[in-house]
Amino acid sequence: MKLKKNIAVSETGFLFDSNTGESFSLNETGRKILQFLKEDKSEDEISEWFAENYEVDQATFENNLYDFFTVLQNFKIIE
């Protein structure tokens, strides 16, 4: 999954798409995932990081991550 180049994410979770002018708000988990995508981290690396640093098992997180990717695709935020 790759974040589109025209997407800007602030530290507080505000996301702006300069192509469409649309803006979005992210919760902390969502913001962190987008930051990792920007750093070209793989899905496995993201999952491992969350399982290590948060109160969540890897299976639950992966389930949520792929659901989140569907939403990002719907909003045309990732390629």
């Binding site: 996301l15 649309e22 803006s23 979005f24 708000s25 992210l26 919760n27 902390e28 988990t29 969502g30 995932i33 969350f50 640093n53 948060y54 109160e55 969540v56 639950t60 997180f61 949520n64 991550l65 659901d67 989140f68 569907t70 939403v71 990002l72 719907n74 909003f75 935020i77």
Partner: protein
Amino acid sequence: MKKKPEYERPIITKINAGVTDKFGMRAKMPIISEIDGIPVNDLINKYGSPSFILSEQTIRKTFNDAKRAFTTRYPNVQFAWSYKTNYMNAVCKIFHSEGSWAEVVSGFEYDKALSNGVAPNKIIFNGPDKSKEDLIKATENGSYIHIDHFDELYELLNIADSSKKRPKVAIRVNMDTGIYPQWDRFGFNYENGEAWNALNRIMMSKKLDLIGLHTHIGTYMMTPTPYGVAASKLAELAVRTERKFNHKIKYIDMGGGFASKNTLKGAYLPGKDTCPSFDQYAEAISNALINSELDPNEMPTLFLETGRALIDDAGYITGSVLANKRLADGRRSMIIDTGVNMLFTSFWYEHEIYPAKEVSSHSEDTTIYGPLCMNIDVIRSVIKFPSLQKGDHYVIKRVGAYNMTQWMQFITLRPKIILIDTEGKAHIIRENETNDSLVALENVPDYLN
């Protein structure tokens, strides 16, 4: 070892500028983590998911609010608990202990009231379906029979011929009170003279004791004014009866229909902000009776059969999330273990549903489905709802009226009903169904075994 921070599933929400309203939106959804002091998690762990929870404290408080509203405005008031709204024996007994009579609409409910220890002369028998046996029993017992149609009137005249007791009766009157739709299926119409006609026939037969006049103008009445109109019309009938027959009507029964604080589907504002209070209903009814031509020295007793408004707030459902999934257009949907089979009122209410634990301020547009394999099993079609995971708990508010009587055994088995007493102790007042309890009523013909 240091505890890891709480996890919340990732959420992204589109910001829509420009579309707003003057009321604004609360950024964070409130939670219900306990009911009358008992944590929701404990209730679910002990009694299963889902369960109905009833608060005795709320029942008694609501009843006393309603009683105060009427007794401070009118000299003689008597409540009668509407069995069909919730006829769990424990619930009925709470209302009876507060002084409520029983208002029943079938032979089954009549027997239930008797077995709950209600004195037969404190039972009001309404409804269009009273068998001959029901009418004989009610006559012998001295219960108040509210006549719904002429066939019933003639049946009672026959019974009066063979019975040693005179049936104590009232007539049910329907009328135009300015509301739409006008309810005209119960009783005799006022405007076309049918009610006056029925009343004359009763008085001239000299076989029945006409003691009351009854009306049930509608349900979920969102304005008190029609009650004032109805009370005036019944008072006028009572005055005419006294003038013509020198006979005093002992009570005027205004039926039920007071709205609860639930929000109807399609309503712009929440029910808790728009529905009338007991004081407003009481003001409309009492003013109409006091300002009528009724003899101020012998005002008839005012009977009230309100059900929904007295019990809705006391009921909760506690349950768990079964799954989250995406719909074709990317919308989130959440499946919970409460379906329309047990939450019948979700067909017309936007039920309030809350998480049972702390959530962040991020919410998504969500459709909440029940667990049934049926397309109509929708609890909320659109709601801004925070992120809950499979297994997380939720609470649905204001489900005390009609659900525990209109629920269906369909696809799944019906759950337990728990009553939390005024000391904060929980009691099972109805066990959950089991395969055995259901199959016990079935028979398989021998040739199929």
